[in-house]
Amino acid sequence: MSAPSTAITLANLATHYPALQIVLPLVTAPLVVLLRGTRLVWLIAFAVTLACLGIAVDLYAQVLQQGEISYAMGGWAPPVGIEYRVDRFNGLMLILICAIAAVVLPFARTSVEKEVADNRLSLFWAAWLLCFTGLLGIVITGDAFNVFVFLEVSSLSTYALIACARDRRALTSAFQYLIMGTIGATFILIGIGLLYMLTGTLNMADLAERLPAVTQARTLNAAFGFIVVGCSLKLALFPLHLWMPNAYAFAPSAVTAFIAATATKVSIYVMLRFFYTVFGAEFSFGSMPLGEVLMTLSIIAMFSGSLVAIYERNVKRMLAYSSVAQIGYITLGISLATTSGLAAGMLHLINHAMIKAGLFMAMGAVVYRLGSCRLDQLSGLGKQMPWTMAAFVAGGLSLIGVPLTTGFVSKWHLASAGFGAGLPLVPVAILASSLLAVIYVWKVIETAYLRAPLENATPVKEAPISLLIPMWIMVAANFGFGIQGTVIWQAVQQAAVQLTGGV
């Protein structure tokens, strides 16, 4: 593609949207540190997030109209320069990340006041914006090494965000996450390095062209192994999920809501990008026994995660284990290695982001009032915080997969994809592990609605409206997209077709 004129004018602004998508939050981050005033800082962060959402929507619209967008960063043409590429899949991912950020930010403003020390607030927002930048960067870039760079940007800022919590256990959790995350990123880097060694290029499209001609099969296999394990670690695929429950449980609630909905999803995106665009489905699922391994691990994750969640007493940690199970659903769809399985996995990726963002926000509101989210302390909370707990119930229904919710839509398509692939055991596993979800969601409902409040507990008020509105927006999205289930489904189907090389 001919590089657009590098000078940015108002007239050609839209052609520079891919760059702005990243640059905007990136330059705002240091600005936020310099400004220091909390109120203004938040406003700027929110404005930038909204701008990013606008850009993401516009980029997706452009993709729908004109097909893939390729943007040469700084005018350096690929494969030498860094290329940003937007297609139907990462266009959707960009919207997802921006939308989640835009909904969680207003929530975060109130929530972090309680959970983060005041003197750290501006640093907190800077880290938040960097994390946001990193996630967007991973998704938008078409350069393998650039993926690693942005992965580090988002990961390092996530460790900082988690460590911001007042709870001191957050420090050790963040440290664990740091070690594991760094190992994961290093593995990905080693894999990329091996690919570079084989082909002499880092551009993904270029890699895809040159890899089939590569003769050193063992090096290629090793590169694949390193990248798969690195991604599995980052996306918390069983048994590499061990860093996640504590990181989610002890991070500030708003951070949990944000990263639970985006960070693991972005890692899944990276994995899919490498599977399909770089290595090609033929190699990933044909030469390597990826499908079988992934399916086994996914099914174990679905059951193990849910079973631990049933026994868990800290609700945030319960939801984290439930995420382990839900990620199992996503990778299960991917492991089917069919277009409809891939699309169903993508659909659940998006839907699960909506579900978990809503649920973690509900728990964030509980933490805001109670200072804790231990299950037994939730007794009688259904009366004291009716709107918050109603949001949790609604989100829980979607998590279980009750009809009219997004959870049902994606499980339905996952089950159909399983049938379509000739594996009737897949729907059975989905149904059985959904029943486990009923149990742990019910445990929370039973405690909140049917138990009398603890005797020594001081009654609490409903969460402030600034927490309730974002939470209910997510709940509404869960039901809205559950009833209008075709909207996202068609989008991800097209994305899956494009990713598998159909169009």
């Binding site: 664990q176 070690i179 594991m180 190992i183 994961g184 593995f187 063992r218 296999n221 090793a222 694949f224 192994g225 390193f226 798969v228 394990v229 599995s232 670690l233 048994p239 590499l240 061990l242 860093w243 429950p245 504590n246 390597m288 026994p289 391994v293 193990s304 079973l307 631990v308 049933i310 026994y311 868990e312 007493r313 284990y321 009809p403 009219l404 839509v409 339905w412 049938f419 149904l431 049917l450 009833i483 289930g485 075709t486 489904w489």
Partner: protein, 566 residues
């Protein structure tokens, strides 16, 4: 009044919302009584059969609102039942009960007018989730536990329905809620789902377990909707399924024995409810036009007279705080109006000529003879005599007459009396002018209940049945009302499986040992294993040191690398 294609459950749900928010009790009460009246009038005057609305959910076409002769009949019925129930509960100031009752009635209407299985499923689960609050509203430890058991079974029924529907959808590509018939696994699942809610033998324990635990007013609602929605669903999906004739006959007969020895009078009514549903299920199983007419007409009447009986027992419970036959007696002196109304209900359920039960039950009986099921006919005749025994005589006799229990009370508040009177008038009216009800039935069969054979058979039956009761009482042979717990099928769930193995063990000790060792041990092992792996400090749940996490990473890497080399 409003748009004809507005589904009837919408006003009910809206009313529930208003009631949930309204502070004034008067407003809540007024809304509760008015909405069923307005909704019923609207349905009667504005809504014609043959109306359908469509919605599309992903690639499935749904039909959330569909009217025909059958669904309209149940629609009228549920409006009447909701009105009677709300009037009866007018004095109740418990917001939870009011809202739950409204949502419950709305769900029943939604289910009846559902044109596809997915919509049916939604309202099916709605019935379960809303009605359980009428049990929990008693706010005792027992009612809480009972409610939980009730909920589990009801939700299970819904899950079976969903699973069956999805299977049918996969096979036929259609979710239409029409004739299904027993054909394939999906349809069996659906029939079992319906069967749970209808109280099929062996699946009925939730009914006799939970209805006596509801609040005095709540049980009136419970008795009206859940089972009748199921009867409706069966009449639509499984008419003419031979199996149902025998299921129905069993349902009609076996509860009689339990009802005769049961002491809790509301539980007696719960058993007699299963017995009445037996007549309907049997009618559906026969599947001729006359039989189907009989089944739905009997469902219509049953809601009203069973409601009347539950209301009179609710009044007794409310005024005296007691409901066991052994504690009651001689109340006719102080509760004369309730006594009279209860007797009208008892006469109706026993199918006395000129009361409503007669005009519908005789249709099922006639259909049995027409289709040459003589043996079943005899069984049903026995069941009809049994009803008279336990519901027709036992209920009024032990509550209002029998020995003097020393209780002195008075008739219940005006609204309860009014609701009962309304039901009683309906019972007599339908019994005397059956043409009105017949005009609403799905088929035109030109059937007339008042011919010499029917009247004579039924009167003889009742006469001898009453004679038997009197004779047994005088001889002191009638099972006395004792404070006892009757064992029902639930005993099998709880005790029989181990006991059966215990029997096996009596053949040889080794067997018992093996059972202990293998099965019990296995169950213990599984729970231990789950706990040790997934429990709070279990292998999979505890916080791991970083070294172990990294170990897993290297294991995974090694695995992938090895796989790559193979």
């Amino acid at each position: 009044m409003w748009a004809a294609d507005l589904p009837p459950y919408i006003p009910f749900f809206a009313a529930a919302l208003v009631m949930a928010l309204a502070r004034s009790h008067a407003l809540r009460a007024a809304v509760g009584v008015l909405v069923p009246v307005l909704g019923g009038l609207h349905l009667w005057f504005d809504v014609a059969p043959g109306l359908t609305t469509y919605r599309t959910l992903f690639d499935m076409q749904l039909m959330p609102f569909r009217t025909d002769q059958l669904s309209l009949l149940f629609g009228y019925l549920f409006h009447i039942a909701a009105f009677i129930g709300m009037l009866y509960a007018l004095h109740v100031r418990d917001r939870v009960q009011q809202v739950a009752a409204m949502l419950y009635a709305g769900s029943a209407l939604g289910a009846v007018f559902a044109g596809d299985l997915l919509t049916l499923f939604l309202f099916w689960e709605g019935l379960a989730l809303t009605s359980v609050f009428l049990i929990w509203a008693r706010r005792s430890q027992t009612s809480f536990k009972t409610g939980q058991r009730y909920l589990i079974i009801q939700v299970l029924s819904g899950v079976l329905l969903l699973a069956g529907s999805l299977m049918i959808y996969r096979d036929t590509g259609s979710l239409a809620f029409n004739h299904i018939g027993l054909d394939g696994v999906g349809s069996w699942l659906i029939l079992i789902a319906f069967g749970i809610k209808a109280g099929f033998p062996g699946l009925h324990t939730w009914l006799t377990d939970s209805y006596p635990e509801g609040t005095p007013t709540g049980t009136v609602f419970l008795s009206a909707f859940t089972t009748k929605v199921s009867v409706y669903a069966m009449a639509r999906s499984f008419p003419g399924t031979e199996l149902l004739i025998y299921v129905g006959a069993t349902m009609a007969c076996f509860p009689i024995f339990f009802a005769v020895i049961e002491n809790d009078l509301r539980r007696v009514l719960a058993y007699s409810m299963i017995n009445q549903i037996g007549f309907m299920v049997c009618g559906i199983g026969i599947g001729t036009e006359l039989a189907l007419n009989g089944a739905v007409a009997h469902a219509f009447n049953d809601v009203i007279f069973k409601g009347l009986l539950f209301m009179s027992m609710g009044a007794v419970l409310q005024m005296t705080g007691k409901i066991n036959g052994s504690d009651l007696g001689h109340l006719y002196k102080t509760m004369p109006k309730t006594t009279l109304l209860c007797i009208v209900g008892a006469a109706s359920i026993s199918a006395f000529p000129l009361f409503s039960g007669f005009v519908s039950k005789s249709m099922v009986m006639a259909a049995l003879l027409e289709t040459h099921h003589e043996w079943v006919w005899l069984a049903m005749l026995f069941a009809a005599a049994g009803v008279f025994h336990h519901a027709g005589i036992k209920i009024p006799y032990f509550a209002f007459f029998a020995h003097d229990s020393g209780i002195r009370t008075q008739d219940p508040p005006w609204n309860m009396l009014l609701a009962m009177t309304f039901s009683a008038v309906l019972c007599v009216f339908i019994g005397s002018y059956p043409a009105v009800l017949y005009g609403l039935l799905p088929y035109d069969t030109g059937y007339s209940p008042y011919d010499a054979t029917h009247v004579l058979t039924q009167t003889q039956l009742l006469f001898f049945s009453a004679g038997a009761f009197v004779w047994l009482q005088m001889k002191g042979l009638y099972p006395p009302e004792l404070r006892s717990v009757n064992l029902d099928v639930e005993w099998f769930y709880r005790k029989a499986a181990p006991a059966a193995l215990g029997f096996a063990a009596s053949i040889g000790k080794p067997l018992q040992f093996a059972w202990r060792f293998m099965v019990s041990g296995l169950i213990d092992k599984i729970t231990d294993w789950l706990n040790s792996h997934h429990g709070m400090e279990g292998t999979l749940a505890r916080t791991w040191p970083i070294g172990s996490m990294v170990l897993w990473v290297s294991i995974m890497l090694a695995a992938y690398l090895l796989l790559g080399y193979v």
